[in-house]
Amino acid sequence: MIHHSNQDSQRSGADYYRAMYLAMIQARLLENKLSSLYKAGKIVGGVYLGKGQEAVSAALGSALIPGRDIFAPLIRDQAGRTAFGEPFIDCARAYLGSALGPMKGRDGNIHRGRPQEGMLAMISHLGSAVAVVAGCLLAKRLQGKLPGAVGATCVGDGATSTGAFHEGLNMAAVEKLPLVVIVANNQFAYSTPNNRQFACEDLVDRARGYGIAGYSVDGTDFLACATVIGNAVARARSGEGPQLVVAKLLRLTGHGEHDDGSYVPDAVKAGAYGRDCIDVAEKQLLESKIITAEEIAEIREAVAVDVQAAVAQAQQEPTPDPFQEDWRAFSSDFSQP
């Protein structure tokens, strides 16, 4: 697998763009594979993809520093996960129920992480990661490790309606923590359109009410995402407190692979946000000569091989054996007084 080299400080310029682009292709090809596996009946449970949201997610993941920062990805953050250093095999194992890998088959699909390494393992309850990332940052402050570190999470437009989102963001603002929250406003929460979710003109209007910085960005515009999200992370890192970025875009797939998303009106699909951020990225990168067509082809080819390898490996691995499980929810052993 092509690795994202471990940065010591936040990437910028061409490096950042290249890292983002690589993560986007990695996410897209990996997710395409997940989709095929699902359709072939090889995955039990839901499959949730980030198609169309890769630029936003990669912009965030590529701006973070693994080992120093905290990242709490949500359901459409394959690109950000990859950029932050999650190997494909974690994803393949979680979806295919391998007994190896971090979740050992106990949890699946997007409910995975490596909390030991700063990548949290989401629970389903939307909005609940915001306060948890704030807590990670508060801990770093108390430990004297905060300078230069940030914490980040993504939520959808729907998740902004949760009490957890509100309480967490407000709390982070009171503590002036370097928390970056990206709202990926893909205009729908499952089937529910924005006008049934909130009544403000733009979710970024919420920033002022928390006393934090807020930015809007076209989430299909690769370079714009890089700039706005990269800057938000940099500002948080330099001590300017919580940053809210609202990215407007469209999910180019169903809510999950079981869903055809037919409730999205054709006009919306054909509209400005219906374009594919990967097309935009390639166009922008080629135009600005950051990358060549040959490199693109090479990246795509190499990533396809990596995807294949990860899936093949996970498919061969043992699945969990209920008789081997210790069935323990406590880490403490209370049996020995």
Binding site: V44, G45, R106, H111, S124, T192, Y263, P320, E325, A329
Partner: protein, 322 residues
Amino acid sequence: MSVTYIDAIREAQETLLRDDPRVFLYGQDIAAFGGAFKATKGLVEQFPDRVLDAPISEDAMAGLAIGAALQGMRPIIEMQFADFSSIAFNQIVNHAATHFYRTGMPVPITVRLPSGGTAGSGPFHSQSMEAIYAHYPGVVVVTPATVADAYAMLIESVKLDDPVIYCEHKFLYRWLKAKSLQGDGLPIGRARITRTGRHATVVTYSAMVHEAVRAAERLQHESGWEIEVVDLRSVKPLDIDTVLASVARTGRILALGEAFPWGGVTAEVVSRVVADGFHLLEAPPMRLNARDTPVPYHPKLWAAHRPTPESICDSLRKLLSY
């Protein structure tokens, strides 16, 4: 013609909307989309003002239902999964549940909880929360196990003046079929003898009724044991009389549930049986619940986490051999 458990839930809501202008539905993705499980499919077309999509705000969904009920409506709110009702917990147990006692004015809301495990659903889309709600004074908790009960008990829930937690089991949605919606007219608060027997009683509810019947059939076939199966139907109120009558016949009881093992319905059942029917017992009352971990994602783990016909048979064999 055959009708499924989820059809029954849909039909009940259609009937309620048609017959009672006080009824309305509120939940995420329930209008044009028809709900994550299609329990409200087509209803917004018939009742455009009374089937409303909610934001992702379970606490406020419950709060809104309480307010509407206080103004004379009969709201039904759909939680997308029972597990997400953890966000609505406060409004349900502290607001809805206490209101009648405090003010003399009941709060007739119905909260639909798509409950229980299915393969691959994992820790946050599989929970059985009936014991959590039943612990609190003032909430009725129903757990239909049949197509007819799914229909009749939802209608009855909405007619009740008290708040009702309606636990519908996702595993039964499409798997469980019946010829019609016609049931036996048992009211909420009354258990049903689903299968008669002489040697032991299994007291259970919701999807586990079917696993219990399977286990009973297997034991009958294998060794001639005749196992009685009692479907509690509602866990609060809990029909201990029917349970005791069964134990009086069999002398042995296994309380069976799919929820976590600490406390819960099975503990309540056993405790009441020994309090009032100690002299009836020929063997120690047993319990069988899920294991004491979150509900695992992997189908193999999941199948070993919840009780199965095999593990029920094992328990029953132990119970019978005492």
